[in-house]
Symmetry: C2
């Protein structure tokens, strides 16, 4: 990991520079639209649909009670990214930055390699990035990690080192590996290089939607999962729109690398950026932290959105709250939370309607868009009858079929 | 359905004409590649992998025993087509042809509409095509049809009429509907208009692969599910190739509409076309029929590839055997069958590696490519060290999550 003192400033320009560095190694993943989901998003929720949520309707008429926003959704398919998740972006960026750090190569950097502690997508992402660069990767994983995850990480050529399950135990083993090998730590989210790398997803999404709209594609021009770049014959002329691309972007928020990077990618563009979290067991740490004006440092939740069980990191928090030297006051526009049933319902739509395999964490933004009445009222109010073109980052697709069987028993 | 006497000849030119007719109504679905699956396809099967198949290895060394073809696979994603399956192509074509039939409109065609018997994708496809054209669709479904399928068909505005489960019972009800309403029958596969419509998938696949290769994209240039149109920066220079596009295409074969249409789409191009079937309970009726030189008229199988439980139709059979006035001797190049375990293994790869939701029927061609040693030896022999660029049509994605839970229990 590049030394903090040598990190580029946390700005949109740095996200653009990160994109130039990693472009040869990552996929420009497609952006898909789906008219059925747009229609559902642009219809007021019924009393039944809001049953059991904080926005439950207890009295008479629904139509007057529930929000009625107009939304056109653009899905950025990072489940089709290398290693099946956006994490490849940050890992490749961290490794490319490290290669360019003065003195790193001369001090034997390529033989010392990198280390991290992760049992998720970051483990595979760093393993792939290190192998591509020709350096070893040491991945500290809890002994209780699922065998397929260990196998997948080893499949990318990494040296898996087992540890206990608690954070201190994992860090202790990582420290030991660093001391023994001289490998550099590449943390999963709490570092400027990681944030800048993840932000490239937001950058591409902005470009791709602007390109699609310039080519006359509207997100609701056709029905079904529709890859914009392949649409040659829109069924109707595009409606005139006020802006050239997106009005807003929403991403999941766990450690906050993707969300913070996306905030940076939108600086100065006028595009609003929102985060989405699970509410179960206090996994909505970012929402709560923003409300009380202080980062929440620990989370313990068993939400099905297992990629979002971590608290927001320190650097990530600074970006989200607009508390960086270069981004004063330009933080996230809002973070919203939803319950497990709503995440499951959104996940079902992505799988059954869009025919995309995504992780439960990836369904959280769509769940907010469909079921969080607070967010929906905000869109109704701020966007008016024109509505918004809203980009959603589908963060990853690494789930086993047996995992789905548990979520949707037959 | 257009009268048989007015149908265009079964040629590639007619598939091109069909494409012009339906282009405003269908998606040009993406073509994806996946390096991991290419590598697996281009590696000899082990004794364990062939266990329980007709190609089981009982003696010593595996490497000498199993086939070693080189394959670059291009997946045409008809699971992202409207209504979630290629069937939209045939249905829109049948309806567009009907609209152009002399005298049809004057005789009240638009108010009489269309009728079919189907509980699968054709039901939804015809319902959508009819609604788009502004005519009623009467869909005869067995009383025992799953409630979600009935709801989906009604969701496209169709009038669902229930019948008994046997073929004669369904036909009797359809006849009654025709007599009462004057609606025209649009059968699911056994008709020239349907065959020509389905063939447009093969046509697009040929175009898209040729475009991608011209742009310097090789199917193995990058890892992971990779949409060709979005790949701007291949990680390596393309290898020189002898042909401008595909060497071969493989599709599933049930009633034979998609396979026959694909055969027509490849006429005169030099591209070989293959079919893939399940072998369980004699569902490999096309393979067996070709071997004995006579169409098999009935199939009764409970294969998980439930879209492929029907025997090949009469018109379809004529095309596949090269027994049409215009296509003499230009039939299918071969049809191959695989067992249930192999279909399941291929389905898992498509879901877990390519992150695509597909029906079990869609996995049958990949299962043949990976596990049918007869086909693999043929590729090894005919393609040599150059290997083949092989297109595979992923036919549809209409499966419920509960359906997957039954296939892959947790």
């Amino acid at each position: 990991m590049a030394d903090l003192s040598t990190c580029p400033p946390l700005t949109r320009a740095s996200v653009l520079a990160a994109h130039d560095l990693i472009r040869p190694f990552i996929h420009r993943t497609p952006v898909l639209t789906n008219r059925t989901i747009d229609e559902f998003a642009s219809t007021p929720r019924t009393a039944e649909e809001l049953q059991g949520t904080p926005w439950q309707i207890t009295e008479e008429s629904t139509a007057e009670k529930s929000a009625n926003p107009k939304l056109r959704l653009w899905f950025k398919c990072e489940n089709l990214q290398r290693i099946g998740a956006f994490k490849a972006r940050g890992a490749f960026h961290a490794v490319e930055r490290l290669k360019r750090e003065p003195g790193w190569e001369a001090s034997g950097g390529f033989s010392k390699g990198v280390v991290t502690h992760s049992s998720g997508n970051h483990a595979q992402a760093l393993a792939l990035a290190a192998r591509t660069a020709g350096m070893p990767a040491h991945i500290v994983m809890p002994e209780i990690s699922a065998a397929p995850k260990v196998a997948a990480t080893r499949g990318y050529g990494a040296n898996v080192v087992f540890s206990g399950s608690t954070a201190p135990e994992r860090l202790a083993v990582a420290d030991k590996v660093m001391a023994e090998t001289g490998a550099r730590m590449v943390p999963p989210y709490d570092h400027p290089d990681i944030i800048l790398g993840q932000g490239t997803a937001g950058l591409e999404l902005q470009e791709q939607v602007a390109e699609a709209k310039a080519a006359g594609v509207t997100s609701t021009a056709t029905k079904g999962a529709q890859p914009t770049a392949f649409l040659r014959a829109p069924t109707s002329a595009p409606e005139p729109t006020q802006n050239p691309g997106l009005d807003a972007i929403m991403t999941p928020c766990g450690g906050g690398g993707l969300l913070a990077g996306t905030v940076l990618s939108a600086q100065g563009t006028g595009i609003r950026v929102f985060g989405a979290e699970p509410s179960l067991d206090g996994a909505d740490d970012c929402t709560r932290g923003l409300a009380r004006g202080k980062r929440i440092e620990a989370v313990s939740s068993l939400t099905i959105a297992d990629g979002l069980r971590t608290p927001v990191g320190v650097h990530n928090w600074a970006v989200l709250t607009g508390d960086t030297p270069e981004g004063k006051g330009q933080g996230v526009h809002g973070v919203y939370a939803v319950g497990e049933d709503q995440i499951r319902a959104a996940l079902r739509l992505l799988l059954e309607r869009m025919k995309l395999v995504v992780e439960p964490s990836s369904a959280v933004p769509l769940a907010v868009v469909l079921f969080n009445e607070e967010f929906r009222r905000r869109v109704e109010k701020e966007a008016g009858p024109e509505g918004w073109d809203l980009g959603i980052v589908l963060s990853g697709g690494n789930v086993s079929l047996e995992g789905f069987s548990k979520l949707f028993p037959s």
